[in-house]
């Protein structure tokens, strides 16, 4: 199997584990999320806290050992970003949507695949929101009129491709991504 193929299979497998436990943890139930937000149930805070504790320690152990990523071969490392206005502004919009729909992008996928049919509307909304973002942040090459030709073999601008965290190399820890 090609490396691309192996990467896809591994991502699929990790996604399946994530989805299985996401559904088993009942994060697909809007009332589970609502009880957390109304501070009636500590489940999700404990769950997220223990997840971050395990992940935080785990990735640091990998980096400290100087491990290379198994499939890509690059040394394990990452960049972090300093907070800016968009992290706050975007998170406010996200939080409002979260409080109303009591779901977020991962659970909404699991809801749709497990037959919570109301979530079809939420799913469509998420797609719409992402499209609106892409439209607003599309390269303004044509509009500006200063650049005549579009890039030849058009990879999309990195702002659409990379998680925003990676775009702003405010501080670099470990090896560069």
């Amino acid at each position: 199997m090609s490396r691309t193929g192996r990467v896809r299979v591994v991502a699929l497998a990790f996604g399946a584990v994530f989805g299985f436990f996401l559904a088993w943890g009942r994060l697909t139930d809007p009332d589970v999320i609502r009880r957390m937000l109304l501070l009636q149930d500590a489940y999700l805070y404990l769950m997220l806290g223990s997840a971050v504790a395990v992940g935080f320690v785990g990735v640091r152990l990998l980096r400290a050992r100087g491990t290379n990523a198994l499939l890509t071969g690059e040394p394990v490392g990452w960049r972090t970003a300093r907070p800016t206005g968009r992290h706050v502004g975007g998170a406010v919009l996200f939080g409002l949507g979260w409080a109303v729909a009591n779901t977020c992008p991962g659970p909404v996928v699991a809801q749709v695949s497990t037959g919570v049919w109301w979530s079809g509307f939420t799913f469509a909304g998420v797609v719409l929101g992402i499209k609106l973002y892409a439209l607003r942040h599309a390269p303004r090459v044509a509009a500006a009129g200063t650049v005549r030709a579009a890039p030849q073999d058009g990879p999309l601008p990195s702002s659409l491709e990379l998680p925003a965290t990676y775009q702003m190399a405010a501080s670099v820890s470990g090896s560069k991504k």
Binding site: L37, L38, M47, F94, L96, L128, P163, T165
Partner: protein
């Protein structure tokens, strides 16, 4: 092991943490869901889209293995908007979804990308984003209840 009951947090949490570690160990990548949506919209079968497809399949396996499928109602929305008002739930969910999608793209991640992935990597921006969407959502949930959400 009871698939019909919610798995304890001390199982789900560490499994999620191990998924974060696993993605770093194999692909040197940060977990995230919105990136998979973006991959799909741009017609690219990247690892993020594969992860999201796996997520859908994993949840389906859980439902088939005994977890059961979703029922007709949807939380406070279908309890609050009843009778002919129920039709309002559709545009409300659509609008909320749009806020979630647009907001997550702007903030550089969702509950998974910022709340789980970015915090595990110790990214200050992710801590700020997570604290902000948590605080906003908690406040908004109380306001909604005060406004009459059941």
């Amino acid at each position: 092991v009871h698939l019909a009951e919610q798995a304890p947090w001390w199982i789900v949490g560490p499994v999620f943490g191990l998924v974060v570690v696993g993605l770093v160990a194999t692909l040197n990548e940060r977990i995230g869901i919105v990136g998979g949506f973006t991959d799909a919209l741009e017609g690219r079968l990247g690892w993020k889209l594969c992860f999201v497809l796996g997520l859908a399949a994993g949840a389906l396996v859980y439902a088939l293995a005994g977890g059961g499928f979703g029922h007709a109602g949807y939380g406070w929305l279908t309890r609050t908007f009843t009778g002919s008002a129920r039709i309002l739930v559709a545009p409300i969910l659509l609008g909320a979804g749009a806020l979630i999608g647009y907001g997550a793209k702007t903030a550089g991640g969702c509950t998974s990308g910022n709340g789980l992935g970015g915090t595990c990597l110790g990214s200050p921006a992710s801590f700020v984003a997570t604290a902000t969407f948590m605080g906003t959502a908690i406040t908004a949930a109380f306001v909604l209840r005060w406004l009459g959400a059941v």
